[in-house]
């Protein structure tokens, strides 16, 4: 346990560093189109955004708890929490958003070879390489382990053939981490390997998918005789399922965290309802009693969810063995978010129905599309039904 004084001293240093290095224009919430994702084809909304990333990366603050040798800052959990608190305190943006940092990096640090850590983990921390995830296939959604994209050994390489789907931002990513079938005869979980593929390799092609919301954050990704160096295999051959599951845990907690952060920055349901529905002049309460009750139900559930996440992180900090909470948070967080988005559209009434044009404010159009986007929350990253299966099996011990 690190001394409290030392931590407070660290807080002082971090505060000074942020004050000196975080540009003033980076101290306000970023709109979605202002997010910085890094990569070979990185775009920046401003020069300040670029230098904010460069300074944070040089200090290792893009991935604070990773070892310094691989581009991190080598901070302890307590120190990283202080850094995060200080960042939030001045309203500073996250310098880099990255699937590599949230999902792949932790897995490579655990399962990767020294060479893989040096090459990939460092590139992720610096924001030089943007990653996407190749898990789902047209025939392998909830039943992920039935995936069929093949990787066959040929000399020093694997030759990859098949298709991935729901690859987030594959059209903008530099590399993809994939689950591939390396043994067609083994039981389905035991013939899968985890492979890193450079998207610039010959034979890789990408086609965006348009969603209900009109946005295209996901793609189909095709692989035709793609040659991948054998050293890009992560973990043992045919041992990819273990790596995949570790990564899915990161993905689940990530999805619930993103929803949580998004909810914290957004206008509250009651504030929205005050604007669109109004309070009774005499009663002082919302003019729609049924909607008011649903709003309150959602607010209370949001509070309970937040407290549960805090309880779980305190238990982990105290060294108690982790349960399978990530499934619960993924399940409950996404269902809650869907409910909230639905209420937001409902509260806005006719103004919640706009698709485009001047009859609706930018905010109203975004709200409607966010509602449509939220329908995917309980499907992506393991559907609600899959999370219920996991809880029933691993937490409750119910038989197959």
């Amino acid at each position: 346990m690190i001394d409290r004084d030392e931590l407070e001293c660290f807080r002082g240093e971090v505060r000074a560093w942020l004050e000196e290095n975080c540009p003033k224009s980076m101290r306000s919430p970023a709109r979605e189109d202002e997010d910085v994702w890094g990569g070979r084809r990185a775009t920046f909304p401003s020069g300040d955004a670029k230098s904010w990333l460069e300074r944070a990366a040089a200090k290792g603050f893009t991935a604070p708890t990773w070892p310094k040798a691989y581009g991190g800052a080598g901070l302890s959990g307590d120190e990283a929490r202080i850094l995060e608190e200080e960042r939030v305190r001045i309203g500073a943006r996250v310098p880099l958003k990255s699937l590599g940092i949230w999902m792949l990096g932790p897995v490579l640090l655990r399962f990767g070879t020294e060479a893989q850590k040096v090459q990939h983990v460092t590139g992720i921390a610096r924001g030089e390489i943007r990653w996407c995830q190749g898990y789902s296939e047209p025939g392998a959604g909830s039943d992920l382990a039935s995936l069929s994209m093949r990787a066959e050994r040929d000399g020093d390489s694997y030759v990859v053939n098949g298709q991935k789907v729901w690859t987030s931002h594959a059209d903008k990513a530099d590399w993809i981490f994939c689950l591939v079938r390396t043994d067609a005869k083994a039981p389905k979980h035991e013939g899968i390997s985890f492979l890193l593929i450079d998207m610039a390799t010959k034979g890789v092609s990408v086609k965006p998918i348009t969603l209900l919301s009109g946005a295209s954050p996901f793609c189909e990704t095709f692989f035709e005789d793609v040659r991948v160096p054998a050293e890009n295999l992560v973990g043992p051959l045919n041992g990819g399922w273990t790596v995949a599951k570790a990564l899915l845990d990161h993905e689940r907690s990530l999805i619930s965290q993103i929803r949580d952060a998004a909810a914290a920055n957004e206008e509250s349901l009651e504030s929205l309802a005050r604007r669109y529905i109004g309070l009774g002049a005499e009663s002082g309460i919302l003019n729609d009693p049924s909607l008011r009750d649903r709003i309150t139900q959602a607010n209370m559930d949001l509070l309970c969810n937040k407290l549960t996440m805090r309880r779980s992180s305190e238990a982990r900090a105290a060294g108690l063995p982790p349960g399978n909470e990530t499934s619960m948070f993924k399940l409950y967080g996404t269902e809650l978010n869907k409910r909230r988005r639905e209420l937001m559209v409902l509260i806005a009434g006719f103004q919640g129905l706009g698709w485009e044009g001047d009859s609706f404010s930018r905010e109203e159009l975004t709200r409607t599309r966010d509602w449509l986007r939220s329908r995917a929350n309980s499907i992506e990253g393991g559907s609600t039904e899959i999370q219920l299966n996991i809880i029933a099996k691993r937490v409750l011990g119910l038989p197959d």
Partner: protein
């Protein structure tokens, strides 16, 4: 504040657990019911609980209590919830003792609290008058007379009212029936002329009573603290009790769920354990999430009392509403998942279903608390 139990808290939990399972198991409640016990609680067990310091858990040491704090008292309530233990924890420890503690003079605290902590005195809290919880709607009148006061009116759903050594009555000393102010706590000892106590037999076998006050003459010293100032304390008294009863519900919820889960693993139909059917699995997993959420808000609300947090009222309403809804859902699902045996009196599961209904109506159902929560947030 921390959600992780300290070693001391773990030890209190163990003590309460073994006490509840040895001295107040569900069979105890069945015996009280089947023998039509006049008291409806085991006084011996209650005194033994007091000896362990549990009756005085929330009472300061200066007044004979063990001053454990609410995080700790919550653990005791949870364990009592697991065995459906019939104790005066809600009526006496949560409601009456807090009214005395918050509104009473030092002399009143010194006289009234130590016997409560010793388990010798059961004090009931007489609040509601209508068909539902409505703490601001009080028409029981307290009028000044030459030598003291006169009390007139009727109270319903007075928990442990028929065995109480004394009642603390929420009375109106000024204003119209639903005026926010003008409320007074008055102490009415058992046997005071003009007081009629009628036991009401409730579905959960626990104790409540209807109490009539016909021109009851009381001395000036019957007023807890100062006349007309009860309003300042009433919300706090009720919120502490709401959080406490939420903790009791949390225990009952977990017990019901664990028993149901065990049944799902052992009951066989079509040649397999019924817990292997997805139609039941998913429902069990969904209940698990609801229970985890309930646990968090109850734990936080208990700590909010100990830390005197400004958002206590919101948390109390959130905890009471959430625990109530979860309790109703879990018990209804438990009966359904048990199938035929679930609707028999032989099995304990149904007793939890009955308790859930009574807990629901105690100190405000979930709709009441959602309305209150919304008002507190200004909408």
């Amino acid at each position: 504040m921390s959600f992780v139990l300290t070693e001391e808290q773990e030890s209190i939990k163990r003590t309460a657990k073994s006490f509840a399972s040895e001295r107040l198991p569900i069979t105890n409640l069945r015996t009280l019911r089947d023998t039509k016990d006049a008291a409806g609680i085991s006084h011996d067990a209650w005194r033994a609980m007091a000896d362990l310091g549990l009756a005085g858990a929330a009472i300061p040491e200066a007044f004979g209590g063990s001053a454990l704090g609410y995080a700790e008292l919550g653990l005791v309530l949870e364990e009592c919830g697991r065995t459906l233990a019939a104790t005066p924890l809600v009526s006496t420890v949560l409601l009456a003792a807090n009214a005395i503690l918050l509104a009473g003079t030092d002399a009143q605290k010194s006289a009234l609290l130590p016997p409560i902590a010793r388990g010798e005195s059961v004090v009931a809290f007489a609040l509601d008058e209508g068909a539902r919880h409505a703490p601001q709607r009080i028409s029981t009148r307290l009028e000044a007379t030459a030598g003291g006061y006169r009390l007139t009116g009727e109270k319903v759903f007075v928990l442990d009212g028929h065995i109480a050594n004394a009642l603390i009555v929420v009375a109106r000393s000024a204003g119209v029936d639903d005026a926010p102010d003008g409320l007074t706590f008055v102490l009415v000892p058992q046997g005071t002329p003009g007081v009629t106590v009628t036991r009401t037999n409730l579905v959960d076998t626990r104790n409540a009573a209807r109490v009539r006050f016909d021109n009851v003459t009381l001395p000036a010293s019957a007023v807890l603290g100062t006349v007309g100032t009860a309003r300042a304390h009433l919300d706090t008294v009720l919120d502490r009790a709401r959080i406490g009863i939420a903790a009791e519900m949390l225990g009952a919820i977990q017990e019901t769920f664990e028993r149901t889960l065990a049944y799902l693993k052992t009951r066989k139909q079509f040649g397999v354990a019924i817990g292997s059917f997805q139609g039941l699995k998913h429902r069990a997993a969904a209940l698990f999430c609801e229970i985890e959420l309930t646990k968090s808000v109850v734990m936080d609300a208990l700590r909010a009392i100990d830390e005197n947090r400004p958002d206590l009222a919101q948390l109390a309403s959130a905890a009471k509403a959430r625990a109530t809804d979860t309790f109703l859902t879990v018990t209804a699902e438990a009966v359904q998942m048990h199938g035929g045996i679930g609707v028999t009196d032989d099995l304990d599961i149904g007793l939890f279903l009955k308790r859930a209904r009574v807990c629901e109506m105690t100190l405000g159902d979930s709709a009441y608390h959602r309305d209150r929560y919304a008002r507190l947030l200004g909408y």
